[in-house]
């Protein structure tokens, strides 16, 4: 075991390999507040990468309803249960154990292997709120019920310290030095499925026809052309940003991911306590109890929620969020002036411009007309 620095935990931790951060790190930022679980991302991914025979159950990208949705079933509660209750020392340092440090004798990672039926219910718990069945989601009175649910967007986290890499006895999984994308070498994998047991996010999957593991490839053929991933560009809620994160000691506040993760700290990692330093970051939902969110996104949830609630008064942040989903191209810096947010490529050329506030138009009543000789009073919506 080597000692590696995990900035999300505020401390060094044990990992089977020495730290070797990539030149830049692929990242995705998800604004959970904007998701309606339409699964456009899921279908974009599925129809691009996993429609082959043997991949029937595979969803490299999925959206699940929290707290009762899982794909595969129970993926997060199972590993939390295995790890047991752990502690943070304030907001800064995780004093509990990671899945590497808690690995039992003879194993490199504390993990569990989903059964085949666990992969068979990707929509389990869909739209189920907390609370009992005698409550209803139609709540005429205020204050509203304390029931809640929200949608969690999931791809491979392309972790800095991947558990799949740690567990593979053949070193068949690797992290690309140029962008930190984690890939399964399709010529080297021998199908032991150790990665399926080790990955706490359960984002490696077994191809039933080729008998080897496969996983989210971060749409690297698109990235190599300067384009954002399929799940990002298909998102109708414009809640995703494909970008690159600098190493924690090289933070550049002009870069969007660095700004969101390290400067404003509005985007938080998923289950950072597991110790993988995941590289997908979430703007937490503003309506969910802090206790639950803290378990899922670590300390700093309250600050992130507060930041998000105030985004309307923060043009720099608002402009950045408005640029999500506004272009297929990967952009590297942005600015906001005269009510317009502009994104720029690496050469400083403008990629896209988005107004902070869309112009609105009021349709005059004169649009009303006749239908079948009868006068229609009101607005027409179908012509």
């Amino acid at each position: 075991m080597a000692k590696v620095r995990n900035w999300q935990l505020g401390r060094d931790m044990e990992y089977p390999y020495v730290a070797d951060r990539p030149a830049k790190q692929f990242t995705m930022i998800m604004d959970t507040n904007k998701c309606i679980a339409c699964q456009s991302c899921t279908i974009a991914c599925k129809s691009t990468w996993t429609w082959g025979k043997g991949q029937e159950f595979m969803l490299w990208n999925n959206i699940e309803t929290k707290p009762y949705g899982f794909y595969p079933t129970g993926w997060d509660v199972n590993v939390l249960e295995l790890l047991g209750e752990q502690e943070w020392d304030g907001d800064d340092v995780y004093t509990g154990q990671t899945v590497f440090e808690a690995a039992p004798a003879g194993e490199r990672v504390l993990g569990w292997a989903p059964a085949e039926e666990d992969w068979s219910h990707p929509n389990i718990g869909e739209d189920e709120p907390t609370g009992s069945a005698d409550e209803t989601t139609y709540i005429p009175d205020k204050p509203h019920s304390l029931m809640w649910m929200y949608y969690l967007q999931r791809i491979c986290n392309h972790c800095t310290y991947p558990a799949c890499v740690a567990a593979c006895p053949r070193e068949a999984i690797y992290k690309r030095p140029e962008d930190g994308i984690v890939l399964v070498d399709q010529t080297r994998c021998r199908g032991y499925q150790e990665c399926l047991t080790a990955c706490p996010y359960k984002k490696t999957m077994f191809n039933l026809e080729t008998r080897v593991s496969e996983k989210c490839i971060g749409c690297y053929p698109k990235l190599e052309q300067g384009l954002q991933t399929q799940c990002t560009t298909a998102c109708i809620g414009r809640l995703r940003l494909t970008n690159y994160l600098s190493a924690p000691d090289e933070v550049d506040p002009r870069k969007p991911a660095d700004f969101l993760v390290h400067v404003r700290m509005i985007a938080l990692p998923l289950y950072p306590q597991l110790g993988l330093e995941p590289n997908v970051y979430y703007i937490p939902p503003v309506h969910v109890p802090t206790k639950y969110l803290t378990q899922m996104f670590g300390p700093g949830v309250e600050r992130a929620v507060e930041m998000y609630r105030n985004a309307k008064d923060d043009p720099e942040l608002l402009g950045l969020l408005m640029l999500f989903g506004s272009t297929e191209r990967i952009w590297h810096t942005w600015d906001v002036s005269d009510g317009v947010a502009r994104a720029y490529d690496e050469d400083g050329e403008e990629v896209v411009a988005v107004p902070l506030r869309e112009p609105t138009f009021t349709r005059p009543f004169e649009f009303a007309t006749e239908v079948a000789g009868e006068p229609v009073t009101g607005f027409r919506h179908n012509t």
């Binding site: 159950f57 032991y192 080729t210 496969e214």
Partner: protein
Amino acid sequence: MAQAKITRKDALLYGGAAAGGFVVGGAAVTAVAVAVENEKAPVAGAPIVARYVDGDLPETDPGSDAWGDAQPTLVALAAQQIAQPFLEETLVTELDVRALHNGSSVALLLEWDDDSVDDLDGIRRYHDAVAVQLPTAPGAAPVLTMGAPGIPVHILQWRATWQRDIDSGGKTGVDQIYPEVIHDVMPDDVLPPRTAQLYWVAREAGNPLAQVRRTTPVEEVVAEGFGSVTHLPKQTASGHGVNEDGRWRVVVAVPSARTGVGAPLEPGSSWPAAFAVWLGSEENRGGRKHIANWQTLVLEAKA
């Protein structure tokens, strides 16, 4: 009986010792195989003597009468606990090994109890297998770590999945794992075969594990330590396995010349040989396997 296991300490302590049938991990062999009619009873710890046969070897026939002439050796198996990940529990303790050779090939018959035939790979679904490990160079046995850097070993692994690939003509995928499966449109339904093949990435990339059309159920690899198994570009091994009455009987055969791999298996020579067994139903795969310490394989001189 105490839990049998082979640890890293055992491997380092005993691995370099001269080959020769001591019982591994301190575990006593308490069970004695029952002699089958016209069969010799297996002897624990004895060298595996490959009888010389003048003529063809039963390379793909585990039921051949020719095997009756070979003396079986009982080889003790134990859970692999040298390298992570470990096999937690030993669930098969004995492998019966016998061998024949004809000067140009060596064949081994390997038998172990397993009443569950596991010959399809799926999610948490693993296959039965058996492997024979031989040094590439003559001399003392290397450490029991599947070779070491600069000290390659030659491994022959029979897999139940590969046997089914052959026996079924490659019908070993989704349709067999889930016989009631209903498919939507699949690439091979709508695309030319050459294009559809691209959707099986590992197969297209040439991964030998991902193929289903094959001619031998025995993979021939070299390794220089755990996790370093490398598929040989020229595959020369053959074999055949059947499971009858809860027992696998598997033949693994290889040309004696071992061209490009190692020193030839000459008549009259003696070699360390180690073994491994995987029980698919017990989620054995990769390093989670049952292993045996080095035994001695003696190739009888030509008559």
